[in-house]
Symmetry: C2
Subunit: 306 residues, 2 copies
């Protein structure tokens, strides 16, 4: 199979694009100066993230397929968190020239499969040589005529609810850092998050006033809603979904763990939330985030723990 | 001012976004899970490039402001080469934590100013720590109701024409590599290309059948049009715009130099091209690119030179 350096830019691009099925939203796919993607709403939701080896993933802890799925997931979740439907991904790959071409192919398989799970496609990108592996992922989406679900719409009296796994990725990461023992489901959850992509449209239908995906940890991310909305968010730890598998540090993982890309939102008090959403707190007057009435500290846990 | 590591992610993002004016196409700018950008045509043109320090720029050869302008220019030019109007840029910056915050600020000033020159804005992005500086730039644009100007529409009998400087960046790079003597305009052209952004709409108005921006060199990029269109392109070296300032290697720089982001297109033979376009060749039956009737070789020059 050889290395990406042996294939060269055009050879590698040809090899990778052949693995990328194009969905109906991609009007012009890879191969020209730019892609053309449907934006029927006449607005496009767009977000970009960089993932750097050693900081955002480790090749000895995750295979290329899972790295691709995770890189796609974190950007697709950002689009969904705006209440939008993901349409396309653009992917830049910087990698040492001695990286195996098969490694790159498996990476793109993961990107393509995660896109397919969200109804999107990898519509374009770039590959360049570099001394470390960096992935630059841009996701696009369509709002379908609705206003974007921002972080700034939470109002006192709203209910705070979450959908999706929380703390699983952090618990899995802790296991990997400790040598890899423990429940395989947790390690799998760290390697490949499973955001419930239907949560964006669902939240919109439920009248959500604010929504985001939990990438830095529940307390920290709810702090973004509190700051943008000019409100306080009060969480009750007893209401948190903390399954036994998360172990003795479960509550901490749920409050501070990122990377599961669960969705957290605020809803009018009268909203009837289906069981896929867990009500974990309320919006009040004030600022910041309280857990059980106390300031959990900058790490989302520090003071709380004392 | 300090380093980006001292500021931290949120401090740095706040500092940078304050420097980014938002144009009318940005409906929701930095600060949420994603940006929202106008796409009045109901399609969005999207392209992404990675720029890696040491491969695509050198900090000892270019200051951060020029690096920002160049990074924006190369992506904005890709949007224009589709016949579209650039609307927004998303920028990912990976950098060592000891990078000066003022360096990052000047980089974003350059990105913002180049966007403004093309009628676009920096609508969002990401900053992360890394061991080398990498810029990931995504550009979006609007087609205004017209079909995209692809690489695949050239037809035998068309005229091949270019607009914008060719060879200037390569000549400037050669001067820098040789120690920096020679015309300052060439070095400036290498540091900061000046794509004629109006060329896309103009080419569309002139009935262009194919268009791209010259990023890898005229011969190599015209080869992309030839391959995508299933035609041959025949260039006459005497018709090339080779100003005296380019020196004795001028013709080679014009044929093989990239990074000026001039535009090259094919037009119906009856098109009346304004003086801003230079007719440099014709489209014929066949394949590949000939210069003065000969195959210029894989580098766009090698055989030609012999």
């Amino acid at each position: 199979m050889g290395t990406i350096g042996e294939l060269g830019e055009f050879g590698l691009v040809g090899r990778l694009t052949r693995r990328l099925p194009q969905g109906p939203d991609v009007l012009l796919g890879p191969g020209d100066d730019a892609a053309v993607v449907a934006a029927p709403d006449a607005r496009v939701v767009a977000t970009t993230d960089l993932l750097v080896e050693g900081r955002h993933f480790r090749r000895d802890w995750s295979g290329p397929y899972d790295i691709g799925r995770k890189a796609a997931a974190q950007n697709l979740a950002d689009v969904v968190a705006m209440g939008a439907r993901p349409t396309a991904l653009l992917v830049g790959l910087a990698a040492p020239l001695d990286t195996g071409a098969d490694w790159a192919e498996r990476l793109y398989d993961g990107l393509a499969d995660e896109c397919a799970a969200a109804g999107a496609s990898v519509a374009g990108g770039d590959v360049v040589g570099a001394s470390e592996i960096t992935l630059a992922v841009t996701a696009l989406g369509d709002l379908g005529g609705a206003p974007p679900l921002t972080r700034s719409g939470a109002r006192p009296g709203d209910v705070v609810a979450v959908r999706g796994r929380l703390g699983w990725s952090a618990a899995g990461l802790a296991l990997l850092a400790a040598g890899g023992g423990g429940p395989a489901e947790l390690i799998a959850a760290h390697r490949r998050p499973a955001p419930p992509y239907e949560a964006g449209a669902q939240a919109r239908g439920l009248g959500a006033t604010a929504l985001l995906d939990v990438s830095d940890g529940l307390v920290q991310d709810l702090g973004h809603i509190a700051a943008a909305s000019g409100v306080r968010i009060e969480i009750g730890s007893a209401a948190l979904p903390v399954p036994e598998i998360l172990g003795p540090d479960g509550t901490r993982h749920v409050l501070t763990g990122g990377e599961d890309h669960a969705f957290a939102g605020t809803f009018p008090a009268e909203a009837v939330l289906p069981s896929s959403w867990s009500a974990v707190g309320v919006v009040t007057e004030g600022a910041g985030v309280l857990v059980d009435g106390r300031d959990p500290g900058p790490g989302g846990w520090d003071h709380f723990r004392v």
